[in-house]
Assembly symmetry: D2
Homo-oligomer: 388 residues x 4
């Protein structure tokens, strides 16, 4: 698809002067992406893959990334907005990539492209109208920012997603294993096919009207969690939760969360859910402030189909949220259905996943900080002085 | 192997009079068991199996049981002790089996055999010295009693275990899907190869001395959980928990539990762990009364190797428990290692697993009992009378 | 104060025909209320009181109600809206009171008065403009409905509140100890001075602007809890919590609750707070879905002054709620202050408070429902059959 | 009472050489203690007290210590065993006291006396047989060590206890507000009557046999908690909990804790109980690993009488623990009763209690450590780059 400059101009209100500086680009000129081979680590026989990575938790292992035949031709750089450090990082990475791997196309999102194309004349973009081009051309994605940036990339690839290499600006994180200062080493490993990949299961959300018909607008991938919450509605909302069409429970309270292992350290954790390693193939069901003493978080098989329905007699309505984003109000009788997405996110990861995860839950979550307070027992502390 | 009556006499102190009444039996006369085909439900291609069922949680489905070529030749009946209702059930089942399937050998444990062989002259036993015969000859197991009886069967088959069909005396349960009054229907389904099997992951326990050497005595299968607990030791015990050789955390408190999904509704639940569906391939790590505000239960991949070590500087020692059974004291520096057993238990199950599980957590655990108490909000309840 | 009929007409849009049927009433004609003596139970020396009951938790006991010199002259009947059973109960109670105690004035709220004055020509009302008359004339209050009705009465008496006798329509409850079918017995006990009173602590709420000045609008009594919650605001809100001007903690999450013992079985319980007996003189501070593993509910002395401030750097705003009612948005830097109200609610209660409370937490909250599931240990269940 | 040196010799096996060095001492020579005036802080009228301080939680305030007429004449120094730093501190404090306040008798416990009397010839002791002398002569107590040392002092004074000034060796703590390096300043404040006192409620424990008769041996003060626990008994124990003779609940599990506010940061916290400010007049009832999803901690009025009974049909027995110390096994039907002790501990405290407590729960318990992990929402983090 050739970018119609006129369309560009209209959409982005770019001045004629700016347009002249836009590198003439056609995403049709960008070749289809290189198909990588995703090999299960520590297995000798690499399995070829058509990149619909089905996360095989039988292995409970990471995958290794290799490029079959071709090398990667196109990278998408996604960044957090309004952050000077991030902008500098994007510039450094782009220039380094351009020098080291001149054959690789560097794609930015349109607004980011507008911000950088003067200083980085070699970058290109995919215009808003050609959204599907992302899936066709992008070999791997670099994210610069926080978890929100990562979640944004997840939303860009509702179906097959290329491997993602997430950089933080300094703070490591569950979703951000790499510090941007190490970008050269990490990018080389990806491009040259020696990186480890952690598959992160996603869920799929669909919305049904009270008459049972599908609300087409509501088909979305979930990275952390779907949640039905009463929001500011003063009445507690009554929600029925179904497992494979069987009523599991009916809950009155603030809401219910259905989350991925990745989401187990997000909102679900605040609601009292367990910490789930990303390789556990499972869905979490956790209540938010239930009017019950006995609602304990549930771990369901990842093959489950979970339905959350605002009860027909519920006094309150509810709002659906995906990864913290408002997805519209649910009236009495309406429901959402959540099941495993066939499209996990393949995240470039540290080589030693167990060590990394242990570090993360300790450093990020401040897991199991034992009291300093020495509640010594009488005998333990005082012992031999006692003479009664 | 021919039973040496002399040996019997010595071990069980059976009087000569009693011995004369023992049916002459040789387990060598019992043929090798029939190899069943365990087919994944809803898959067309049945996979043959050598009965080292590797629980394939990719499918998250039940299995179906079929007997390849041969029909089952030997059943082991295991019962709870000192319960009249259970004794009557054993008699009824044995007589029915003997009438309906006279070709099937009915094996009882030695003490049970002593109790019943007069009234049921067709039953046989495997003497204490020939323990390994259980694995060679038993095609399937019937349990009569409670969870303890089920756990006992698990301990009889430390390696490959035949399918188990557990009957309760009336109360259904997670481990006891069938009421004994339905025994005819359920046994027919098993013998004729139309039953559904739920694989229950087991864990494997080994004990290491402080110098790192393996304590051979301590190799055991775990059905519910392994636990290190301070017992009555007055000092809190310091336990380090390692994941794949990386230190995960060091906990001071009463103890730490490492459990299976099956065990998630046992001691782990009391300690605050989540409710885990048996098809989630995972291990639970849950603390018992930790001296920390921030020890949240962890869900690890079933491929994990978890090590619990009594810290070298721990003031208190600890005791290891498997499925509630005391497995000996652990001194400072000693540790236990827990990993997935290659030998799951294949449990005959209700056809509709999701419905059954939903029923169980509601009826057995009294899950999510919403308050009766109507905490109505001001506006909701009172509403239009308000005139301020 | 003489009711200006013209004003009545205008405010309630009563037709001239309706007005003729209004009983001519002047609340100025209603005498000041009878001052009761509130005696601490089981103490011989009754202490006189000017009805600013200071809840003396030293005693941890109920109080007994006696009328000094005079008998009660005026009762306020408050009812839930739109409930036929409640309407019938109001009619029965009014007629019974009118027959048995014709000297007692029966006051209804204006809208209720409009509904009933034709059928119950002896009832009277206090018009909206004369709100302060409630405190001057009402000797005791009868509520008919649910907790919401009770909370409404609490809001009618921001300062001194007369004793309240709450009736449920059948379901007993923490706030609703009496079934309406027993109204004759219970009303007699109150009127004749032999009832037991349970003092329920209230809290007081005030709102401060970011510059520290008091927002006069926001001075309110709290019966259950004050809560700052992010509502539907997508960002987690950062709230600082101060105890007597000292920073206690800064919490990121959905919100923070400050509750009374009475409120411990309301929203605080859903958020994970303890169950607090109403005679424990304390405030609960409980987080709602905190982004922390280590926020445990706090019990503070009732003399505490707690301040919740939306942090100046909080990305999200918040909303203040009192007893579930929206009290307006709080911007960054704004705060609310909560302290003990000098005006508890004196609630007529069952004679044996401990028995009643034990019953309530069991029946209403389904407290401590032990599993049906028999997780018997190996030795316990199986025992003597084991022959290994 | 004159110490019979012969008795000394026998009891402590002191060699003749050692005896010659023992300072001739008669506790009869030590005068009765000075009666302090305990004034409620911020009240103008100081109330005299006969040192049975009844903790008046109405005020929710600290008390101030003043000596009426006389100045303190005797101090008891109690120390942790086997700690060189503690021994040095004891020497320094004793020498300083002897120099600065030569009129004050310095009493050590017998074994400590043996350790120090050569180096500190001015110290004296109260021999084991004269235990009741502690109450008669000790004006205030200094503790050097940890919480265990503090608990030991509590056990020395089963009835009236003199003010205690607890010093830590560096780590501050809930029970240890003062660092020993500040001992001069703190001791001066106590001796000269300008210290603040925090009353810490104690509970009282009595044990009853299955026939209802009192087991005299079991009358004890509780500083942190009483606990019934199954210990290593493999079966879960069934315990009935009564409130003022009314059955509150029957629990199956590891055990039940009844604790003081002081104990709320000890074992009760590990079991999931709330953090209770020491001035909240209340008892905590918290379960240890209950076989129930719905056992939430309870806060009862301090006037409650709580009874824990091993259920007559309980399969398991139990052990009673007070402040972590084994108090003997309880058979089926036996019970313990817990109620408020009339003898609180008056603890010298920091002047600003609220600030100190806030510091303690943050520093000691690591209360509410917010995640570092930035779970930003899509809109929050990414925002303006999004162009879908």
């Amino acid at each position: 698809m050739v970018i119609a400059v006129a369309g560009w101009q209209k959409l982005f209100r770019i001045t004629p002067h700016a347009i002249r500086q836009i590198r003439s680009i056609s995403t049709r000129d960008i070749p289809n992406k290189a198909l990588p081979t995703i090999a299960r680590c520590q297995n000798t026989a690499a399995e070829s893959s058509t990149q619909v990575f089905d996360v095989d938790h039988e292995s409970d292992q990471q995958f290794s990334l290799q490029w079959t035949g071709a090398t990667p031709k196109t990278v998408l750089l996604v960044k957090k907005a309004n952050d000077k450090k991030v902008d500098n990082a994007l510039t450094s990475i782009s220039q380094w990539l351009h020098n080291e791997y001149p054959q690789i196309n560097i794609v930015l999102e349109p607004l980011v492209f507008r911000q950088f194309h003067k200083d980085l004349p070699f970058v290109c973009t995919i215009p808003p109208g050609a959204h599907s081009e992302y899936s066709r051309v992008v070999d791997f994605v670099v994210t610069l920012g926080g978890d929100g940036t990562f979640l944004h990339v997840s939303s860009l690839f509702q179906k097959k997603a290329p491997p993602i290499i997430p950089f933080s600006m300094g703070t490591l994180g569950f979703l951000l294993p790499f510090n941007v200062r190490d970008f050269q080493e990490q990018l080389r490993r990806v491009i040259e096919g020696s990186a480890k990949l952690l598959p992160r299961m996603r869920l799929m959300y669909s919305k049904y009207k009270a008459d049972g018909s599908l609300d087409e607008s509501g088909l979305l991938n979930i990275t952390n969690e779907a949640c039905i919450h009463r929001g500011t509605y003063p009445h507690l909302t009554t929600i029925s939760c179904y497992l494979n069409e069987h009523l599991l429970t009916t809950s009155v309270g603030d809401g219910i969360i259905v989350g991925t292992p990745t989401g187990s350290t997000a909102y679900s954790l605040s609601a009292g859910g367990p910490i789930v390693h990303p390789l556990v193939s499972s869905m979490i069901v956790a209540p938010v402030c239930p009017r019950s003493l006995s609602f304990r978080p549930l771990m369901l098989p990842s093959s489950s189909i979970v339905k959350l329905q605002v009860h027909k007699q519920s006094r309150g309505r509810a709002t659906a949220y995906i990864d913290g984003r408002d997805c519209g109000e649910l009236l009495q009788g309406e429901c959402i259905e959540i099941k495993k997405s066939p499209y996990p996110l393949m995240c470039v990861n540290r080589d030693d996943m167990a060590a990394g995860w242990a570090l993360d839950i300790n450093q990020l979550l401040k897991f199991n900080r034992t009291f300093s307070y020495p509640h010594e027992t009488l005998f333990g502390d005082h012992g031999s002085n006692s003479d009664e």
